[in-house]
């Protein structure tokens, strides 16, 4: 019980120090308020509302009868994001990533990728997302997704593509990460563990540090990667999205075949291999899921329409 209150106190104290610097502070503060209010409603005997704990920056003595266990708090903070909250998180991560790598300065290329990506995303179940696509100016071979519909593919990967179906397949894998909210789930888990660890260790002196541990530094969430089952799931959902958009469903597998044949110890793929299962394992896993299920699907691969970078 003591630890639980310490978690709450630590979280609350941290927000007061960084309100101007980070939108997350306010966002999380709102979440704590909601959770506290929800709790009050379940305790009708408490007639006069207690001072709002979320505004009490000293926080160590919250109302004695409120019950919030640490797990509940974690889910309250990171469980159900509204689309607006999700976009704010994604916007932060996307802006950070763009601080590490700029976009390729080619309007036609970027516009083309947005058209292909939007068409594929229209086949997804999520209609509450504004999709934005960008090609990053780096030799690195990779693609990224951030919550709220921010999708990136690197120039290094783009230049290996042979047709529009392959581009659609790559983008569809990333779109699937967004529709399945994979990164939000990672954020939820790692944030809760971080907060608990800090409370238990009682080492917290700098409130900024607490929030950094909650959301991570810069775009490091992109370097940590996801569970391999999340990658396999995004592969499965991705090839179906591409097929539903009318593309040949083998675009993504062909890109994986290409990557499987790349030399190891290539710095261009080191981040990809750190954050994803080996392409051969992804092909094998997809093979188990697909079997003959796509035998009747005949899509287009459109090699002639793939925009070539000058």
């Amino acid at each position: 019980m003591k630890i639980k209150w310490m978690v709450l106190a630590v979280v609350l104290v941290s927000f007061s120090g960084v309100a101007s610097g980070l939108d997350f502070g306010k966002l999380l503060e709102e979440r704590v308020k909601q959770e506290l209010n929800k709790d009050r409603k379940t305790q009708p005997e408490q007639t006069s509302p207690a001072p709002d704990a979320a505004q009490n920056t000293a926080a160590p003595s919250p109302p004695a009868k409120q019950k919030i266990d640490a797990r509940q708090l974690g889910f309250a903070l990171f469980g159900d994001y509204s689309p607006e909250e999700e976009t704010r998180i994604g916007r932060q991560i996307a802006g950070d990533l763009l601080g590490a790598v700029p976009l390729v300065r080619d309007d036609k290329l970027q516009r083309y990728v947005n058209l292909v990506g939007n068409w594929v995303a229209l086949q997804s179940s999520r209609k509450d997302v504004t999709w934005r696509f960008g090609v990053l100016d780096t030799d690195d071979i990779n693609a990224f997704a951030a919550p709220g519909g921010y999708i990136f593919v690197t120039r290094g990967l783009y230049q290996r593509l042979n047709n529009e179906a392959e581009l659609a397949g790559v983008l569809a894998h990333e779109i699937a990460h967004v529709t399945l909210k994979h990164h939000l789930k990672v954020l939820k888990q790692s944030s809760l563990i971080g907060a608990l660890g800090q409370a238990a260790g009682n080492k917290v002196k700098d409130s900024d540090q607490v929030v950094q541990n909650l959301i991570g530094n810069g775009a490091e969430i992109m370097a940590r990667g996801l569970d391999k089952n999340a990658e396999f799931e995004a592969d499965r959902v991705g090839i179906v999205l591409a097929a539903r958009a009318g593309y040949d469903p083998w675009g993504l597998p062909e890109v994986l075949q290409d990557l499987a044949g790349l030399p190891a110890k290539d710095s261009r793929t080191s981040l990809l291999y750190k954050t994803h299962p080996h392409p051969a394992d992804r092909l094998a896993e997809l093979g188990e899921a697909v079997g003959g299920r796509l035998d009747a699907v005949h899509g287009k691969d459109l090699p002639g329409r793939l925009y070539r970078i000058r």
């Binding site: 916007r91 996307a94 802006g95 950070d96 601080g99 590490a100 700029p102 970027q110 947005n114 292909v116 939007n118 068409w119 934005r132 960008g134 780096t138 030799d139 690195d140 690197t154 290094g156 810069g218 490091e220 992109m222 569970d227 089952n229 396999f232 499965r236 539903r244 958009a245 009318g246 593309y247 083998w250 597998p253 062909e254 075949q257 499987a260 044949g261 790349l262 030399p263 190891a264 710095s267 261009r268 793929t269 080191s270 291999y273 994803h276 299962p277 080996h278 392409p279 051969a280 394992d281 092909l283 094998a284 093979g287 899921a289 697909v290 299920r293 796509l294 035998d295 699907v297 005949h298």
Partner: protein, 176 residues
């Protein structure tokens, strides 16, 4: 170029790509070689997981391969490109696995090309200007639909794929 085109049932829009040279590949799971690129054709041979094959051609979701004395069509997802066998398939250390399963014949000079690393991402500072640039390239659903129609892309009914049995109970993603 068109010598592998199968007349029966092959639609004009099926792309046929015959590679210039046979490329090495490794079989990822026990599967069959069919006489045609479809599962209702006769079975030419069975190939075990880990077998080496030469990839001769590709058509849709099928690869034409030679395995020992047999030649036939195998599902694209049953083969990985590159020699070197299965190596550490399924092991957690993907970097190590990549090393053991790389094909030495395909090692090329990559001097001067640089990838991203953890530090680049950790040190990154929010860049609002680039983000605004990205926003400006956004396409509307109406534009995307018109773009798709230009090349005759139409939506298809394709059922979702179930997770393989081996995975169903172990994925924390699907139980959340």
């Amino acid at each position: 170029m068109k010598r592998f085109l199968i007349p029966a049932g092959a639609l004009a829009l099926c792309a046929v790509a015959a590679s210039a040279l046979a490329a090495p590949g490794t079989v990822l799971r026990n599967d069959k070689l069919y006489s045609q690129p479809n599962a209702s054709s006769s079975v030419a041979a069975s190939v075990p997981k880990g077998a080496s094959v030469d990839i001769l051609a590709k058509q849709g979701g099928w690869l034409r391969v030679t395995s020992g004395k047999s030649t036939g069509w195998i599902r694209l997802l049953s083969v990985r490109a590159g020699a070197g066998g299965l190596g550490g398939a399924g092991l957690g250390d993907v970097v190590g696995a990549a090393t053991t399963r790389s094909d030495p014949s395909r090692v090329v000079a990559v001097a001067g090309l640089r990838g991203l690393n953890d530090e680049d991402l950790k040190q990154a500072r929010f860049n609002g200007e680039e983000l605004a640039r990205m926003n400006a390239w956004q396409a509307t659903p109406a534009q995307a639909r018109s773009f798709a129609a230009q090349s005759g892309l139409t939506t298809a009914n394709v059922a979702a794929l179930p997770a393989p049995q081996s995975n169903r109970t172990s994925s924390p993603w699907e139980t959340n």
